[in-house]
Symmetry: C2
Subunit: 154 residues, 2 copies
Amino acid sequence: MSTETLRIGDLARLAGTTARTIRYYEEIGLLPDGGARMAGSHRLYEQADLDRLLDLMRLKSLLGVSLDELKELIAAEDARAALRNELSRDDVEPERRRALLTQARDLLERQLELVRLRAADLDRLEEDLEGRLGRVRAKLAEIDPAPVAAIAER
Amino acid sequence: MSTETLRIGDLARLAGTTARTIRYYEEIGLLPDGGARMAGSHRLYEQADLDRLLDLMRLKSLLGVSLDELKELIAAEDARAALRNELSRDDVEPERRRALLTQARDLLERQLELVRLRAADLDRLEEDLEGRLGRVRAKLAEIDPAPVAAIAER
DNA sequence: CCTGAACCTTACGTTCACGTAAGCTCTCAA
DNA sequence: TTGAGAGCTTACGTGAACGTAAGGTTCAGG
């Protein structure tokens, strides 16, 4: 009835992970149960699920947070999903819509804050390494018996 | 005889970690045995050891690498340490010095490469999140019954 | 209808990165 | 010299994040 056309193996391949990981994420509440299904039948996913999974993996690897912390961070997608879901039905209920949007906004702001902190740390590290590298190169240049390489410099 | 004045507890406190972690890092070869000591006596550290430990922790958290990967990455400090150590004695041996500097340079370049890749990924994520946040804010502004908050905006 | 690949659940196993406990030892200040 | 606090070694424990195996089920294609 919807565009649910991916099986767990497909999803895993597309996301570059394993079926076990996807089931585990579902188990701990990071991913919703793939398609409301009765116990035993195959999980079915759609594009949105892939997006969410990719988002999760990206946040995890780039922010280095635990799956538990991740659960709180990505509640924004839940708000988005709920919104999209309730909009498809016709009872919009503006109060609710407003609450969902506000929540999504707050969580996105939190994610951005973390990302920017990390980026700043990485910048500092980069400058640090550049400094050291410069000093090492200088010492090498001093001693270098063949300063010809100055041209072939990268 | 040297400036070795820190005990493991001090080092741990200064680095914001635990003594257990430091012993573990030594165990797996990430940190040298604190001061050539005979079995049973206390480990002694100096400033350089603190620096190295802080470096390790920073690379670990910012690059998200395993301690094993870290071992290969920070071999640069070993080269630096060896250099400093051999320079204090007077037999410089320029061949050796050159080799150490070259090795340090290569490893620093590798670290920088990884840092820059990560930074680029983080940038993409940041832009992504900014985009989403913008869209959510726009929707909120549409629906907003009290656009007064535009002034109190952060 | 039938088959085989992919999936299901359940449950135990594994690796990493330490935590924790026990029993003993070292160090340093009083 | 001595006492206590920090450190030492050894060894088992732990939580997170999955891996893997077993035995049964579902589902798409022929």
